[in-house]
């Protein structure tokens, strides 16, 4: 009797788990298995896959200037985005950390870009940043900040524009993360600080920032991981161009898989095996950086 009910219970459990497991298997596990197989093959979707061993990995590091370029660009992009977005979001959070109607409305407005499609807005930015009749140059000229129109998507400023657009799209998220961190600091600490007579600058340096420590670690890690994965905004804004100046690794892999859709590529045949290898390399780099970062930040915790 008991055994029977147990079996029927398990059946119910697995039935309820089944839809989730099925999607997980198809959308998460299967593609990774597929990629791990094809990293060892040369495969373009038309001819039979050819086993090449580790040659795809060797090719990436020794014979592929496009990969090295994408690697370099990725670090510029990720570094630039984090260096701009985190301080801005932090200052905003400090300024807007009050529970009044106005502060709430300002938070909601600044958060609004994160709600809408960044691909669609990248198309709008593509128009706004147009060198000849874009809105950004027009405003800058009117305000007298530049003398002649700037070619924002040309080779000199394309990366800067890309970073700024991604800061636009993500700023609200990080502001909210920092606000959550600030609100988790108990008021008593500030009160005891006030009794000791600290001014607002000391309050920031000696109370807020140290208390934010653990949260800051999580936020920085989130920022790192998402910045490495950013791609559709870059794909729409610049397509990796001009001359590969904004071609980051996620986009390079995409162009190896879907050469027709990417506008700035050197190859015209898909290279599924090599693309899989590049994406595995970049996943390893992200993993490696995360581990090192966690090690370093734990060391810092020991020191404090």
């Amino acid at each position: 009797m008991r055994l029977k009910s147990k079996a029927s219970n398990y059946l119910q459990i697995y039935l309820m788990l089944f839809p989730s497991l099925l999607i997980f298997a198809v959308l998460s596990v299967y593609p990774i298995m597929w990629a791990l197989k094809y990293v060892f093959y040369e495969y373009n979707g038309y001819t039979n896959p050819k086993f090449v061993g580790l040659d795809n990995f060797i090719r990436a590091f020794t014979r592929d200037p496009l990969f090295i370029n994408a690697l370099k660009n990725t670090f510029i992009y990720v570094g630039g985005k984090i260096v701009i977005i985190l301080p801005l979001a932090f200052i905003l959070a400090i300024f807007l950390n009050k529970k009044t109607k106005i502060h709430g409305a300002l938070q909601a407005l600044i958060f609004s870009p994160t709600i809408i499609s960044s691909a669609v807005m990248s198309l709008v930015f593509y128009l706004m940043l147009n060198a000849y009749n874009g809105e950004v140059n027009r405003l800058l000229l009117k305000l007298g900040l530049v003398d002649s129109p700037v070619n924002w998507l040309g080779s000199k400023y394309a990366m800067l524009s890309t970073v700024i657009v991604s800061v636009w799209a993500g700023l609200g998220n990080y502001m909210v993360y920092f606000l959550a961190g600030l609100q988790s600091i108990p008021d008593e600490i500030y009160e005891s600080g006030a009794i000791d007579g600290v001014n607002s600058f000391q309050k920031l340096i000696y109370i807020t920032i140290p208390m934010l420590g653990p949260m800051l670690k999580v936020i920085l890690m989130l920022a790192l991981i998402t910045a490495f994965q950013d791609m559709s905004n870059i794909l729409v804004l610049t397509g990796g161009g001009p001359f590969g100046k904004t071609n980051v690794m996620s986009l390079y892999v995409y162009s190896l898989y879907f050469p027709v859709n990417a506008s700035d590529t050197a190859t015209f045949m898909p290279q599924y095996g090599y693309g899989a290898a590049v994406s595995v390399i970049s996943a390893c780099i992200v993993g490696f950086i995360t581990v090192i970062y966690l090690k370093i930040s734990n060391k810092l915790d020991d020191i404090y």
Binding site: I23, S28, W34, I115, G172, L222, V236, G275, S279
Partner: protein, 279 residues
């Protein structure tokens, strides 16, 4: 001292003002620009349109077929939201309340996959697979692909279910309720707040996606969601002459979600940190 305070306040509000313009201006430019003529857009005009060209929208709807793509987007995002709610609530409940053979392996696999991303590489095999079994012929395939494995939402639900006293389940079990009945009679009503957040986020994710929609509809452009259709205008023949259509299309893609945001901004903002703090 008084003067310094005034100065600090002044700098503070200047800073907030600049950021506010930086964040909101592009959205206003899109919305207002969608009513301007192409000439007014490219040659520069006022902030507000000289004449409100509602015809941009009729042109976008009829000529560029955006009505169809909007409907596609609604169907795709709605289906994806439904699948997300169904899978993550059931899985979350099971993980939170029951032990069963294989649980440890499954949970750690879910956790591991949250941190591994292969970008475009993981979409291609799924596309080929769905193509083979005919799922790319309807919007269902795209909706499933957009739902993803829901690992984050599953763990959100786990956290929420754990906050409900187990005694409620036990009482119902003793009354003869099956696990499934306990799930939809007791758990579902109690975890509604988190289901709301999951629904909002799933809907927004599916609505805003570009890449998965682009790839999954390669062989069947009739199924394109609106985001993909709008961005395709950039690559069309007379892109230079169609700024007003692009902005009308962009507005069609962002206004529904902005309207949703006006009513639910509290959930959107707090939902973000629920995930961040726990995850």
């Amino acid at each position: 001292m008084r003067l310094r305070q005034v100065c600090i306040n002044f700098i503070k509000w200047i800073f907030i003002g600049i950021i506010l313009i930086f964040t909101v201006y592009p959205i206003l430019y899109t919305l207002l620009g969608s009513f301007k003529t192409n000439w007014e857009l490219t040659s520069g005009g006022n902030f507000f349109p000289k004449k409100w060209m509602f015809s941009n929208y009729t042109q976008a709807y009829i000529q560029s077929n955006f009505l169809k793509y909007s409907i596609n987007s609604i169907l795709i995002s709605g289906t994806s939201m439904f699948i997300a709610l169904l899978t993550s609530s059931m899985a979350g409940y099971v993980f939170a309340r029951h032990t069963f053979p294989g649980k440890k392996i499954i949970v750690s696999a879910y956790l591991a996959m949250m941190f591994i991303s292969l970008g475009a590489v993981s979409i291609y095999p799924v596309y080929i697979l769905f193509h083979k079994i005919g799922l790319t012929k309807s919007f269902l395939g795209l909706a499933i692909a957009l739902t993803g494995s829901q690992a984050t939402n599953v763990f959100l639900t786990v956290g929420f279910v754990r906050s409900i006293p187990v005694s409620m389940d036990e009482a119902a079990y003793l009354e003869g309720c099956s696990y499934m009945k306990i799930f939809y009679k007791i758990i579902i009503p109690l975890i509604r707040p988190i289901l709301g957040v999951i629904a909002l986020f799933a809907f927004r994710y599916a609505w805003n996606d570009y890449l998965i929609g682009l790839i999954m509809t390669i062989s069947n452009p009739d199924l394109m969601p609106i985001t993909v259709a709008v961005v395709q205008l950039k690559y069309s023949m007379n892109a230079a002459a169609e700024w007003h259509i692009m902005l009308a299309g962009a507005s069609l893609a962002i206004v529904p979600i902005l309207v949703l945001y006006i009513f639910t901004n509290k959930q959107f903002i707090s939902g973000l940190t629920v995930g961040a703090v726990k995850g």
